[in-house]
Assembly symmetry: C2
Homo-oligomer: 334 residues x 2
DNA sequence: GTATATTCTGAAAAGCTTTTCATTTCAATC
DNA sequence: GATTGAAATGAAAAGCTTTTCAGAATATAC
């Protein structure tokens, strides 16, 4: 749409120096005499020169691009992690290519390949279901950070809360409030965090000598509708319950909604606890008790760590802890 | 981390053809004799060759990358638009670099420059506050589509619902339900959609001969907390109201919450209507009446259109209409 | 079997930068 | 003023691909 792009050669000519010198001015890689530097900068300003990132990447071997593989853009938790990652890149010169794996391994591997083709300098994986075998291969090829997912023997590169303990704590909280019949709405199958949360729930029951009732466990999918279905299922099967622990907030909203439709009061009749602490939860009626996950901070830590790894610097990962936000949707029971 | 990358020269050598021929096989730009084609493909498979996108982009002038400038990643509406955009790119060979403008013009211009440096082939702007002057400059440089924003004389490249009419309709609905004192919680200042919605609200009142009461208008910021503050403000100023139209769902949730805290029933005492139709709204208690915006579809239309523009093909934009989702948070008033 | 048209193919250039290596410049030293 | 060393600079190569152009191979027509 424009005649021809301004290149480093145009600047070199205009400033009567070699392209190499212009490059040095741009990159501050070597000092150039102040007088020349000034002329070069003027020339660049006048011609509005902007270096071509493709050419730079090709020759330098650093594309200054990171890949971010997220799952199902539009889901609040992961969006916030992505936000943190992108925010953490601010001022670093790096940009992020965001791709969506849709929680399908094939798709994930495919989009990772397009990222690699683009010569990304590093990769952040948010969640996902790629097999450990593939991950092992991948991490040999490119600096890699995992968020919201864990991998044995790779802990130094994984950012996550301890979902097991968080779920344990949430369940324990209900137990301490006097609840004995605690239902659980599971997150999507194969999602690592969903599995961990379920296990934490089960262990908390066990440690308190409470029997786990299969009828009070529902396989959800992290969307609100599955919370609604869960309540139908629980009621149908006839095992009473006084509390529900949902593996995320959206399902907790569905649960709350279904209770309301059946005129079951929350929290007086049934306590509800969620997970993630989406921004909306504090404003629900009743406001939702939930396990907060510091998602944005985790994303920021991910990019910080990745940049360190790329730069060959030692990195250290902060420990992220989930914290229970006690609100109105839970209460003590007789 | 690997010895040396496999290049097209390695393939050429192994297949005993010239690099040009390998290129032709990859791009199917010219037909290559079947026998050679087979050898080349075998060589590529054996060596696991993947073309370097940087080199391709540099020489071909097409980076196969699009820029997506969104605002404030993590806000539901825009995330869904971004999701649509990225989904619409599937199978096209294009990838998206996602950047966050944070609703600050300087920041937006800055990140657009980094996108241009990366030789993006096209750009989608979601919302934003860049001046029309800058937009005019920009659209001369690069194929451009605007989503959630409009620009005089550039309608063929803007994807948006008619926020004015949608707000008009929402307000009219409340009026038809018998409401006369209708408060409004505005979206962030300078946000085009927020302005339009306010205007639609005002016009609907006017057309029905209802006086607009400044005390019943609150300057919000699209976050739930501002819905809470709005109610405080309305009540403090003493002008009664029987309905609230919030410029988005999150503020409507804040409104709902604040009413609850003051034991004002919804919808019996006060009807509440939101905007956007976030997934959660249908599960609230009471479920929220809201104006649905087909955000994902709009995003998909944006990438489809942009790809057409880039390809030099004629494009046409579907018309997107907001649709009122009547739920439980509104009711007829005496 | 030659002339002509067609289809394939390879060599080389181009795309834009960084980086290496050698050279020039300049100040400092004796 | 010649010598040395450091600092600054330029020429050229390198990075990997696509594209142009010309030439080779093959097919077609007579």
């Amino acid at each position: 749409m424009q005649n021809r792009k301004v290149t480093i050669l145009d600047i070199a000519e205009r400033a009567s120096v070699s392209p190499a010198t212009v490059s040095r001015v741009i990159n501050k890689s070597v000092v150039v005499k102040e007088s020349k530097r000034k002329v070069v900068i003027e020339a660049m300003d006048e011609l509005g020169f902007r270096p071509n990132a493709l050419a730079r990447g090709l020759v330098s071997g650093r594309s200054m691009t990171l890949g971010v593989l997220t799952q199902d853009i539009g889901s609040p938790l992961y969006d916030n992690i992505a936000k943190g990652i992108i925010r953490g890149l601010e001022g670093s010169g790096y940009s992020a290519i965001l791709v969506d794996g849709l929680w399908r391994e094939n798709r994930e591997l495919e989009v990772i390949n397009t990222l690699l083709d683009r010569q990304i300098d590093g990769l952040v994986l948010i969640g996902g279901v790629i097999s450990e075998g593939e991950l092992t291969k991948l991490r040999k090829r490119i600096p890699l950070i995992l968020v919201g997912r864990e991998m044995q023997g790779w802990e130094d590169y994984c950012i996550n809360i301890d979902n097991f303990s968080a779920a344990y704590e949430a369940t324990k909280f209900l137990i301490e409030q006097g609840h004995r019949r605690i239902a659980h709405v599971k997150g999507s199958p194969n999602h690592q965090d969903a599995e961990q949360r379920f296990k934490g729930y089960a262990k908390a029951l066990e440690d308190s000598g409470i029997e786990l009732i299969p009828n009070l466990i529902f396989q959800g999918d992290f969307f609100p509708q599955s919370g609604v279905l869960a309540i139908s299922s629980f009621l149908e099967r006839g095992d009473g319950f006084s509390a529900v622990f949902a593996a995320n907030d959206m399902m907790a909203m569905g649960v709350r909604r279904a209770l309301y439709q059946r005129s079951i009061r929350c929290p007086e009749d049934v306590s509800v606890i969620g997970f993630d602490d989406q921004i909306e939860t504090a404003f629900l009626v009743p406001s939702l008790t939930t396990m907060r996950q510091p998602s944005v901070e985790m994303g920021m830590a991910a990019s910080a760590a990745l940049l360190d790894v790329i730069a060959g610097k030692p990195h250290d990962l902060p420990i992220f802890k989930a914290s229970l936000q006690v609100r109105e949707s839970t209460c003590r029971t007789g």
